[in-house]
């Protein structure tokens, strides 16, 4: 976006020059997004800020997303799985855990 420069102006552009740069920017924004709320600094922004943190439907959704990110193979049924099934109820310890990154910081390299 170029900084405003003097040039033969239409009536509207002349009005912009009289306005502060901030108001001119506001006009630009309203032109692009006519449905933008009346109270900008109010609840919408703040609520968005308070809710930062990607939402997943549930923990299963979260773990699937993490598994995809790591390109991990879904655990295939091992031959001895048949022993486990029906033998005991799986606990969280049995399930594949998302391991945090153990890569050292490059600042320490």
């Amino acid at each position: 976006m170029s900084a405003e420069s003097p040039e033969p102006a239409s009536a509207e552009e002349q009005k912009d020059k009289v306005l502060s740069p901030e108001k001119a920017e506001e006009a630009k924004l309203k032109a692009r997004y006519p449905h933008l709320g009346q109270k900008p600094g109010g609840s919408d922004f703040l609520r968005k800020r308070l809710q930062k943190g990607q939402k997943y439907f549930d923990s299963g959704d979260y773990n699937m997303a993490k598994a995809k990110m790591k390109n991990k193979q879904l655990p295939t049924a091992a031959p001895d799985k048949t022993e486990v099934t029906g033998d005991h109820i799986p606990t969280p310890q049995d399930l594949p855990q998302r391991k945090p990154s153990l890569v050292a910081s490059k600042l320490a390299g």
Partner: protein, 449 residues
Amino acid sequence: MTPGFGSLMQDVLWCFSQVKGTIDAGVAESDIISTVEFNHTGELLATGDKGGRVVIFQREQESKNQPHRRGEYNVYSTFQSHEPEFDYLKSLEIEEKINKIRWLPQQNAAYFLLSTNDKTVKLWKVSERDKRPEGYNLKDEDGRLRDPSMITVLRVPVLRPMDLMVEATPRRVFANAHTYHINSISVNSDYETYMSADDLRINLWNFEITNQSFNIVDIKPANMEELTEVITAAEFHPHHCNTFVYSSSKGTIRLCDMRTAALCDRHAKFFEEPEDPSNRSFFSEIISSISDVKFSHSGRYIMTRDYLTVKVWDLNMENRPIETYQVHDYLRSKLCSLYENDCIFDKFECVWNGSDSVIMTGSYNNFFRMFDRNTKRDVTLEASRENSKPRAILKPRKVCVGGKRRKDEISVDSLDFSKKILHTAWHPSENIIAVAATNNLYIFQDKVN
């Protein structure tokens, strides 16, 4: 060479000293530095990153053989402070990004620091080990147990020197006290308590107690529809352990005194600059949101950073700041696009030098700015690999706002808004600064004659 105290900015020539980090073309998200902090003596420099890791650098002792080389900072310790978590109840991911690090003053041989992500504060102990016991009776040097029947002689284990090992251990974990995202932590001058602040609440902790915390500020409205502002930063007074300030998204600062009430919802002082209503625009409130608040070392002033300016306030005058410095006012005519690319929400920090005579804050294009409060002069410098020859003097940079661009100037449209300097730190007593440029940490020092 005179140290930082009393030195005027025009006497200082800033030189490149060191840069940490890699020059990879693609920056991994986890390598982005999210906080930088010197300890109280300046001997240690800590960084936190988005990957939840902390790296601590230690200043080398200055050698008599090379007096022209000021002590360099080298890696002392590094550890994983926080890990990503998942809040099962709310189906929310909790980032491991380190939002803030604050050092405790040193009271014994070990170093202590607080590090926090969005939800949990941790107290870390960093200690050195340079001796280890040797000559155990029941186990050999590898740790394998010896056969008791083979032991015929009793000996006393002795401590023998070993290669220096620096260990970081988590000593306290302060969890489950914040519904919203922690933006600040601040150690109290009593060294016994500290506070943690999120968007709507501030809690007071005792370092020894992790299962309880006092809520000292709560601005959550009964009906969330009525929410109009959030807490953006908070800090204890450097000397008065009963006093703290917190800033808001509406550009105001409240000073509170914990002696008046258990819940400090009513402020003792309220700092707000009157606004000309005719100047109000859609962006007014967003750009007035304070991203950082810092007490001066003297405790007499507070400095606030909003999107376009840095302001200094006298604690004794609530109705307006005593000084206002323009950081990058040329961005005022770019607010529309800065809103669209979310840059208008960037949270810049600000710092004082040791003598409170110069203040510093970051900008875009890896530029950072310093303002001398006495001479009213300012300078723009750049953190760049191009100026990274040892002891190379940094050349002042200038942004051209229209009209003819001089040779060395850069036009507003050429600024790289992805290169933002949000976090900087100033050594407590010397002219040494640390500047975080995305995934690189630059250290600059003043020129030693």
